[in-house]
């Protein structure tokens, strides 16, 4: 062990004696390592930024859609309930329909942009009820004129927060209906930015059946898309079962008319783009590492030639083949290890700056850093083998004669 320490010491002093050249040698490794690491960390940041809010919650979603080219079936209140009965692992299904219009409260009138859905919408993770209740399955089945609105909507329409029991008069075109406020939910960041915008609109949720009834639409032909809500631990199970359950309940055979999308918030094209970018940078980085490795081999070979006499001296004093081999391998490995460390610092700095500029979360997986350290050291060991073997095999007499 003491011997290894001597080799490391001698390697470090040899690197220190040739600072400029050592740095040049490390450059390829530094650039390669910095590039890979920066791209991976920024990529992670991007993914986290896109999926971040959802994954922070316990709720997961799966979107199910019917291909209208292959089937004329639609989601109906009945078949949605049947699907729910067959899938105990989900909270429920909700279609989605928007309700726009002018809403009149006791204080003032505002533009509204309400979401119509089922009571399962209450599980979307952003519906923390502060006063009253969310609308229920009974409200949905009966198409009751009820709604849940955000805190800020209550303030704007009625001038106070706990507006449970108040009535909003909603006008769309020539149809006007009264909706009873049954619950007030906590604001989301969206609620406030919409309500305070230049063209303010207030947010709330209503049963989709009520929207259909109010505007004379048929709930049985409105929806070819629904969202399933579930605990995130159940997502894989639900995603696996969903297609066949929907096909069975709706009576669709073959033809892959049912599409199940279980991707996590980030749509698949941007995911693909990110993967392609990662692959391209990884390729460039690998080439850079390869070039860096060859540079190390080159410099080490020059170093062996320059230090032929030193090798002869060491051998005359009793250095074995393995001692010389280890010494030069250690030197190559330390060179690339240091290159790796500098590359890591550089790469993480770049990633940090980039993440800060575009407002991505910056997190570093320590395993990644450790792997990178091993890779860079491994490059030195691999590309150091050839020059180290050359050094170890030198004939002591000839080596001693060298100038």
């Amino acid at each position: 062990m003491g011997v290894i320490r001597e080799y490391l010491k001698s390697a470090i002093s040899s690197i220190r004696n040739n600072k400029g050249r050592s740095l040049l040698t490390m450059l390829g490794i530094i650039i390669g390592i910095a590039a890979v690491l920066a791209v991976l960390v920024i990529g992670d940041g991007l993914r986290a930024a896109v999926t971040g809010e959802m994954s922070a919650l316990d709720v997961a979603t799966i979107n199910v859609s019917l291909d209208v080219a292959k089937t004329d079936k639609c989601f109906t209140p009945e078949n949605m309930e049947a699907i729910e009965r067959n899938m105990s692992c989900i909270y429920g299904l909700s279609p989605s329909v928007s309700l726009y219009g002018n809403g009149k409260g006791t204080k003032k009138s505002y533009n509204l942009s309400f979401s119509g859905g089922s009571d399962a919408l209450s599980e979307n993770g952003q519906n923390k009820i502060l006063y009253g209740r969310y609308f229920t399955r009974d409200d949905v089945n009966a198409a009751n004129y009820v709604c849940v609105i955000s805190q800020i909507s209550a303030m704007k329409l009625f001038g106070y927060e706990n507006a449970v029991g108040e009535t909003i008069e909603i006008t769309n075109g020539d149809i006007t209906k009264d909706f009873t406020v049954v619950g007030i939910r906590e604001n989301t960041s969206m609620d406030e930015s919409y309500a305070e915008g230049e063209d303010p609109s207030l947010q709330g949720d209503v049963p989709y059946t009520t929207v259909a009834l109010a505007y004379n639409k048929d709930v049985n032909t409105m929806f070819t898309k629904v969202t399933a809500y579930m605990h995130k631990d159940n997502k894989d199970e639900a995603a696996a079962k969903m297609k066949s359950v929907v096909e069975n309940v709706l009576g669709i055979r073959g033809e892959s008319a049912v599409k199940v999308d279980a991707s996590s918030g980030m749509d698949s094209t941007s995911d693909t783009i990110l993967n392609v970018v990662t692959a391209v940078v990884a390729l460039i980085a690998s080439i850079s590492l390869l070039v860096g490795g060859i540079g190390v081999m080159n410099i080490m070979t020059v170093s062996v030639t320059e230090r032929t006499r030193e090798i002869g001296i060491r051998k005359s004093l009793g250095a074995r083949t393995s001692s010389i081999l280890t010494q030069f391998l250690a030197e190559a490995a330390i060179l690339t290890f240091l290159g790796g460390i500098i590359g890591i610092i550089l790469g993480l700095t770049l990633a940090r700056i980039a993440c800060a500029m575009v407002d991505f979360p910056y997190t570093v997986n320590p395993v990644l850093v450790i792997v990178v350290v091993f890779i860079s050291t491994g490059i030195g060991l691999f590309f150091g083998i050839y020059p180290a073997k050359r050094a170890a095999k030198l004939d002591p007499i000839e080596a001693l004669r060298a100038e």
Binding site: G2, V3, E6, S10, S13, S14, N17, R309, E310, G312, I313, R314, K315, S316, L317, G318, A319, R320, T321, S322, S323, P396, I397, L400
Partner: protein, 233 residues
């Protein structure tokens, strides 16, 4: 007297075939423990070849070499390395110090390859440097020292792990006369302390200081005499 070096009918042939050179031609030689031998010969006579053989840096084309009774004529590179480390202290004409290391670090090298621990290594290396009068130069690099001082570092390195044989190849060849005298004085002292010293030289003035003088010419031993003029200091 116990036999330390026994060479039996050793030949070394370079470029066997057309232009072959018989650098050593059926040489037999015995050197006992605690001897002080000079091997003298003209340039090209085969001195360095013999020294490489004696120092286990090279193996004979034919013949046998027994060192401490052990046949070392056909060994692997690593076995030779171990023998060199244990049995032989080299003193070269050109000092052969590693320029990037300090005096102390240079002296420590054979001890490192011996596997001696840091503390013991420090002690031995310091003792060796003290014994050649370099206690004030331990942290100096070779290029900060005179030729005589560098050769003293080399001597300290050769004796640090106490090998039985000191093998000096033209040890004063690169030195002025004052430094030469100093180095020869140290070498003689090392002999009188109980070591076997073999000096290889072309300089009769150096050879005359040894107790036994072997003359070599054309790869053969021409004479092997006890020096009648030898005097203890």
């Amino acid at each position: 007297m116990k036999k330390l070096v026994v060479i039996k009918d050793v030949s070394k042939i370079y470029n066997p075939g057309e232009n072959e050179v018989r650098a050593l031609n059926h040489v037999s030689l015995t050197i006992g423990e605690r001897e002080f031998v000079a091997i003298i010969g003209q340039s090209g006579s085969g001195k360095s070849t013999l020294m490489n053989m004696l120092g286990c840096l090279d193996t004979p084309t034919s013949g046998k070499y027994y060192l401490h009774g052990q046949d070392v004529s056909h060994m692997t590179d690593d076995e030779q390395s171990d023998i060199r480390n244990k049995e032989i202290g080299f003193i070269f004409q050109g000092f052969n110090l590693i320029q990037s290391l300090t005096a102390l670090e240079n002296v420590e090298l054979p001890l490192i390859y011996r596997g001696v621990g840091k503390k013991e290594r420090d002690r031995l290396a310091n003792a060796a440097l003290n014994s050649v009068g370099l206690e004030k130069r331990k942290t100096h690099k070779p290029n900060e020292m005179s030729g005589g001082q560098q050769q003293r570092v080399a001597i300290a390195r050769a004796i640090a792990q106490a090998p039985p044989i000191l093998l000096a190849d033209e040890p004063t060849g690169n030195l002025d006369s004052a430094s030469s005298k100093e180095i020869m004085k140290i070498i003689k002292r090392l002999y009188s302390e109980g070591r076997t010293v073999i000096i290889i030289t072309h300089d009769p003035g150096i050879a005359q200081q040894a107790k036994r003088i072997i003359t070599i010419s054309d790869g053969m031993i021409k004479s092997d005499i006890i020096n009648p003029d030898y005097k203890e200091d």
